[in-house]
């Protein structure tokens, strides 16, 4: 017998356990977090159960379907346009009232709903009583109890899904909004129905209510309809803000009338989460604790990672030597040994940093502290024209700009998001560190640490100033309001953090394996051809390119070799060091490279400082450019980010080099 197909979508507020349930059902890997809105992408998986092939989709967490954020639009469009057989709303049993608000909206959408009452363990431990039968009756919807973390209730859920699918009976249910609003709803429905070509997937009543609430997204969907003008005439005749308030009121009223019959809540008690919150957001202690924890995270990311980095370094050096001596012909040995292993080795060295960073971020996220970080930092961020939520992407930027820009998706406001995306590339990512380590280590000796720290500060300062400038000019306006749930503290699960670490670390390795490998091969070719010239010498192609741009770079103190390395650094900033190694013919031995650099009179302490600043600020690497394009959806902003970066980098490097020369260095 052929498997029958069922498509179910998991929806619900953030932090109710959708992803945990999704993982428990499908066994697939997915990130689990505590930062509201972390599941931005639609994830799907499959489960085979009793002869059915069930496709499960994990929708982004939303508080409502009012199109306030991208998440809401994604979830809503999916439910309406893809028409899953059953929409499962995951509900936090310990926070029923607010969760039911989304239920009222899902019902209006006319979808087949099934309610999963998750986190029953927390509610019951607290002493709440939940009356499931009454709930099913009042909501006219099946209700299943689960504890996703303990995989309890999963079979009940799947049984119910199948039962519901086979029944094919639809539970209609709607909320009355009072005479005045109901009249208007009817008026709009009557006009809308005249349009024969309207999108029939959207229920008329739902469209009408949304229009009365002033939903621009829905307005956009009917803008080409012949009846658009008449609909707008009705909408313009009402006091829209009043209607908006009234409609929300009525929904909560509907909840309030049934809620007391469905559950009785235990008296509020002082929970462990409240106790922790009291200290971590304490007026005097909150910020010092935050700074200390951030310092601890950095200490682990960099100090603890060192031996692992050294190991990778040793392995790469050994492999490179082994290959050079055992492969024939010479050109292949050179390509594999110097080019590929040398270059990729120099990049893989940062895998430990990146793994640790993502592991720690996931711990912070899963514990609920990340939301407090936004809460604690919001006032400061607001002062520089940004939103508290931008702090997290900026913090992640220290690891790698790519996931950082992706993390900006949790910022609802488009302008806030755009500014965050545009300034994250100035945050000094892990890939830029080897450039600092090489040059600061070579030229600044014991002061190297201070110099590197100064680079980080420079990046932050430029980011802040850029945010200010953008707010004053192209992206005018104030940061969006800070309206955010502070979820309860939970003990993060090791498994979740390990999965998160692996997924993101692996993404980095893949990047190293593809883009960066290609970049390294290109450098090798350009440095070795025309065939027969000395490797990376002035006679090679790369030498010619370097000479061509030298006039532009001279005022910054860069000779043709450095210029070439910077050009290749556009592929990925890691390559700057790798290609300097290639150009100086030292492979990946950093000590040999340091000696050569010191011996080269073209590079001085001052020009190395200018170089560090330039590599920090100039055009983001290709991978970052790629996500900027993807996340902003606009070439205009992508090109802006590139040009802006290069201009700022040139100016700062110019100031450092020429200023330093004036001061007599």
């Amino acid at each position: 017998m052929e498997d029958r197909e069922i498509k179910i979508a998991l929806t619900g507020n953030p932090n109710v356990g959708k992803t945990t349930l999704f993982n428990a059902l499908t066994g697939s890997r997915q990130h689990v977090g505590n930062w509201p809105g972390v599941t931005v992408e639609k994830k799907s998986g499959r489960v085979a159960y009793k002869g059915y092939n069930i496709e499960v989709i994990d929708l982004p967490g939303t508080y409502s379907l009012t199109a306030y954020s991208m998440d809401e639009i994604v979830a809503r469009d999916f439910i309406i346009e893809e028409k899953p057989d059953i929409v499962i709303q995951v509900v936090d049993a310990s926070n029923l009232e607010r969760n039911l608000y989304l239920t009222t909206q899902l019902m209006e959408l006319g979808s087949e709903i099934l309610i999963v009452l998750n986190m029953c363990d927390i509610a019951e431990d607290r002493g709440d009583r939940l009356y499931i039968d009454k709930m099913q009756e009042l909501l006219a919807t099946p209700v299943i109890r689960t504890v996703a973390t303990q995989k309890k209730g999963l079979c009940d859920l799947l049984d119910k899904v199948i039962e519901q699918k086979e029944l094919k009976q639809h539970h209609g249910h709607e909320i009355g909004y009072g005479n005045e609003i109901e009249e208007k709803i009817l008026d709009i429905e009557k006009v809308l129905i005249e349009d024969e070509k309207r999108d029939k997937r959207y229920p008329l009543r739902w469209v009408s209510i949304r229009l009365l609430e002033g939903d621009d997204n829905v307005k956009g969907k009917i803008v080409n309809s012949p009846v658009y003008g008449r609909v707008m005439a009705i909408i313009d005749s009402i006091d829209q803000e009043e209607y908006e308030a009234e409609i929300a009121d009525k929904r909560y009223l509907a909840i309030n009338t049934i809620f007391p019959q469905m559950c009785t809540r235990a008296n509020d008690t002082l929970t462990k989460s409240d106790m922790i919150d009291r200290v971590l957001t304490n007026k005097y202690l909150g910020i010092p604790i935050f700074l200390a924890l951030m310092w601890g995270a950095f200490e682990l990311t960099f100090a603890f990672a060192t031996p692992f980095m050294d190991m990778i370094d040793l392995a790469a050096t050994w492999a490179s030597e082994y290959v050079s001596s055992s492969i024939h012909p010479d050109w292949l040995a050179s390509l594999v040994g110097d080019g590929i292993i040398g270059g990729v080795g120099a990049v893989l060295v940062f895998v430990p940093n990146i793994f640790i960073l993502f592991f720690l971020l996931s711990l912070l996220e899963g514990s609920g502290y990340l939301a407090r970080a936004a809460f604690i930092m919001d006032k400061l961020m607001y002062k520089i024209g940004m939103h508290g939520k931008s702090f997290i992407p900026m913090l992640m930027g220290f690891g790698c700009n790519v996931p950082a820009i992706m993390a900006a998706r949790s910022i609802e406001d488009e302008k806030d998001r755009l500014i965050t995306i545009l300034i994250v590339p100035f945050i000094s990512c892990g890939a830029r560190l080897p450039i600092y380590v090489l040059f600061a280590g070579t030229f600044f000796g014991r002061q190297a640490g201070t110099v590197i720290f100064a680079m980080y500060i420079l990046g932050i300062a430029i980011a802040i100033v850029s945010a200010k400038i953008l707010r004053e000019t192209i992206v005018k306006g104030k940061p969006a309001p800070f309206i955010m749930e502070l979820p309860p503290y939970r003990v993060p699960t090791l498994k979740t953090s390990l999965i998160h670490m692996w997924d993101n670390g692996f993404m980095y390795i893949k990047k190293a394996g593809t883009i960066i490998l290609a970049g390294v091969v290109v450098i090798w070719v350009l440095a070795s051809f025309p065939w027969g010239v000395e490797y990376g010498s002035e006679a090679s192609y790369v030498g010619s390119i370097g000479h061509a741009v030298e006039p532009l770079m001279k005022p910054l103190g860069f000779d043709w070799k450095i210029s070439v390395a910077l050009i290749f650094g556009l592929v990925a900033k890691e390559i700057v060091v790798a290609s300097i190694g290639v150009l100086y013919g030292t492979g990946d031995s950093s000590e040999a490279l340091s000696e050569r650099l010191l011996a080269d009179s073209g590079v001085t302490a001052l020009s190395s400082l200018s170089l560090m600043a330039f590599s920090l600020l100039y055009m983001p690497c290709v991978a970052t450019v790629g996500v900027i394009k993807k996340e902003t959806g606009s070439w205009k902003w992508t090109i802006f980010a590139i040009v802006y970066g290069i201009v700022v980098a040139w100016i700062i490097a110019f100031l450092i080099y020429q200023g330093g020369r004036l001061l007599g260095y």
């Binding site: 971590l280 010092p288 604790i289 692992f308 050294d310 190991m311």
Partner: protein
């Protein structure tokens, strides 16, 4: 501030956590101050001058570490002050103090493990003469007290109505 509890006769006694917080907090503050002066002298005068007791107590000249010690100490003492003035929630500070001191001890020990790998496995020349004692510091050995408390009082940190069941 009202305490949301139905009856006042459960876990009101804060004397044990108060004594514990006083002792632990004072130790952290004391060693934090010593470490701070060691660090400050290293920067201002140079490595030749030694603050008394630093060798004996394994105190490194590390200012950021000193800040962490002082912070942990302050969290404990803050709780003592609140509990002393009769606020039951003051116990939260003991709880978080214990958590933070354990977190930082774990961080120091991980970094130390890294150094051990450098010294014994990679035989890095920067780590010649390194022994496990080289990385011993107040942030690590002082955490024994909170660790003890954490194990012993696990139940006390459960949500209140769970312990009432």
């Amino acid at each position: 501030m009202d305490i949301k509890r139905e009856n006042g006769n459960d876990v009101q006694d804060t004397s044990t956590p108060m004594v514990f917080s006083t002792v632990t907090g004072s130790l952290y503050v004391l060693l934090g101050l010593l470490q701070l002066s060691a660090g400050a002298i290293r920067i201002l005068i140079g490595p030749d001058v030694q603050v008394p007791l630093t060798n004996l107590l394994f105190i490194p000249a590390d200012i950021i570490g000193a800040f962490v010690l002082l912070l942990i100490g302050t969290v404990f003492i803050y709780g003592v002050i609140e509990m002393h003035s009769g606020i039951f929630e003051g116990i939260s500070y003991a709880y978080v103090g214990i958590l933070i001191s354990l977190i930082f001890a774990a961080i120091y020990m991980l970094v130390s493990t890294g150094n051990m790998l450098e010294a014994y496995l990679l035989k890095n020349e920067d780590f010649i003469g390194w022994t496990p004692a080289s990385d011993l510091r107040p942030g690590i050995y002082l955490a024994i007290l909170p660790l003890f408390a954490f194990i012993k009082w696990k139940n006390m940190f459960e949500p209140i109505n769970e312990s009432r069941l």
